[in-house]
C-alpha cells in the first residue's frame, strides 16, 4: 500500500523526522539516522567559534537527507526571522523549522511570537514549519498565515513524557482533516510515537528519545517501526471503546450455563 507523506509538495517515504543533537558521537548519529529510515533531519544554527577549529558537522549527514534548519534558541520573532534568513543563505534551502521559545525552563513555545515570525517568513518565500502548543486555534492561525504544516508538541522538548493531551491532538486532526500535522517534541518511547500516529498525526519529529537512548541505533529502529505501526493503525480505524466486555467467542452453544 502506498502511503507517501507529502509535505510542501515534496514526497517522503518516511513519516519520521529526526534531530541531530545530543548524540555521543557523529558515528552514533549516522547509524541512528540510517536505522530510523528518516529522510529529513533538523539542524541548529549557531555562531561559528572564532578561536578554535571545528569539524564540519554537515559532512556526517547522508547526502540524500533533506536538511531542515531550526530557529532553536530564539526568544522572539525578530531573532527567529534573522536566524531563518541566515540558515537560508548558508544552506540554500527555504525550509525552516520555526521555533520561538517562551521561557528557558519549560522551553514551551511563544505562540504569539511564532505566528508573527511565521507571517514575515511566509511573505519572504520560506516553507515555514512551526513548532507550537497543541492548540487548535493557533494551528488554524498558522495555517491561515501560509504554513504548509503545523507542528504541535506532545510534551516539552526533551522531556520524554509522551503525548500529554491526546484529546487536543485528536480534536486538531478532526477539525483540520486536510492539514499536515507533525507532532514535534516530547516523545520518549516508541509507544508515544505510535499513540501520536494513531491519533492521526501525519509525521513525528523527535531527537532526544533516540539520541539519549543507551543504544541510539536500536531505538531509532524501534521508533521507525512504531511510527509505521501507528500510521497503519490510524488508517485501519480503531475499534470502538466499550465500558463492558464483548465476547469474542460465541456464547450460544457453549456447554456451560451463563451464571445468573
Amino acid at each position: 500500500m502506498s502511503d507517501t507523506f507529502i509535505l510542501a509538495g515534496k514526497a517522503f517515504g518516511s513519516r519520521l523526522i529526526i534531530g541531530t543533537g545530543k548524540y555521543r558521537s557523529f558515528q552514533e548519529m549516522q547509524s541512528a539516522h540510517l536505522a530510523s529510515g528518516a529522510e529529513m533531519v533538523t539542524v541548529a544554527v549557531n555562531r561559528v567559534p572564532l578561536d578554535k577549529k571545528t569539524e564540519s558537522f554537515l559532512d556526517y549527514l547522508a547526502p540524500e537527507m533533506q536538511i531542515l534548519p531550526n530557529t532553536a534558541g530564539c526568544y522572539d520573532a525578530e531573532h527567529a526571522v534573522r536566524t531563518a534568513r541566515l540558515a537560508r543563505e548558508a544552506l540554500e534551502t527555504d525550509w525552516i523549522k520555526l521555533e520561538v521559545i517562551g521561557d528557558p525552563v519549560t522551553l514551551l513555545p511563544d505562540n504569539e511570537q511564532t505566528l508573527e515570525a511565521a507571517k514575515v517568513l511566509v511573505k519572504e518565500g520560506f516553507v515555514v514549519l512551526p513548532y507550537f502548543s497543541d492548540d487548535l486555534i493557533m494551528a488554524k492561525k498558522l495555517l491561515d498565515a501560509g504554513c504548509p504544516a503545523v507542528m504541535p508538541l506532545a510534551a516539552p522538548i526533551g522531556s520524554g513524557l509522551g503525548v500529554q493531551n491526546p484529546a487536543n491532538l485528536k480534536i486538531m486532526r478532526e477539525q483540520l482533516p486536510d492539514a499536515v500535522i507533525i507532532v514535534d517534541a516530547g516523545v520518549g518511547v516508541p509507544s508515544d510515537a505510535a499513540i501520536a500516529m494513531e491519533l492521526g498525526a501525519d509525521a513525528i519529529l523527535m531527537n532526544t528519545a533516540i539520541a539519549e537512548a543507551k543504544n541510539a541505533e536500536q531505538m531509532a529502529k524501534a521508533m521507525n517501526l512504531a511510527v509505521q505501526a501507528g500510521r497503519l493503525a490510524y488508517l485501519s480505524g480503531r475499534m470502538p471503546k466499550r465500558l463492558y466486555a464483548s465476547a469474542s467467542s460465541p456464547i450460544q452453544g457453549a456447554i456451560s450455563n451463563i451464571p445468573k
Binding site: 541531530t20 549557531n46 555562531r47 572564532l50 532553536a72
Partner: protein, 66 residues
C-alpha cells in the same frame, strides 16, 4: 579597529572585506552565512562589503539540534 563578532569584541585590521574577514579568522567559507548589522549579506557580495568600525557581525554555521 574594533568590531563585535558573534557577540565578542574583536580587534581587526581596517579595510577587510567579508571574504578577507573569514580568512583572518581561518574560517571556512562553505555552509556558513554572515549577517552584518542585523541584515544577511549574500555570499556573492562578500567581496564587495567592507567591515567598518563598530560593525556588528554574526557568522553562523550548523550544529546538531532537534
Amino acid at each position: 579597529m574594533k568590531v563585535l563578532i558573534n557577540g565578542k569584541v574583536k580587534e581587526i585590521p581596517e579595510g577587510l572585506n567579508l571574504d578577507q574577514l573569514l580568512r583572518h579568522f581561518s574560517l571556512p567559507s562553505q555552509r556558513i552565512a554572515i549577517e552584518m548589522n542585523t541584515s544577511v549579506v549574500r555570499r556573492k557580495d562578500w567581496e564587495d562589503v567592507i567591515v567598518n568600525d563598530s560593525d556588528k557581525i554574526e557568522i553562523i554555521h550548523f550544529v546538531g539540534g532537534g
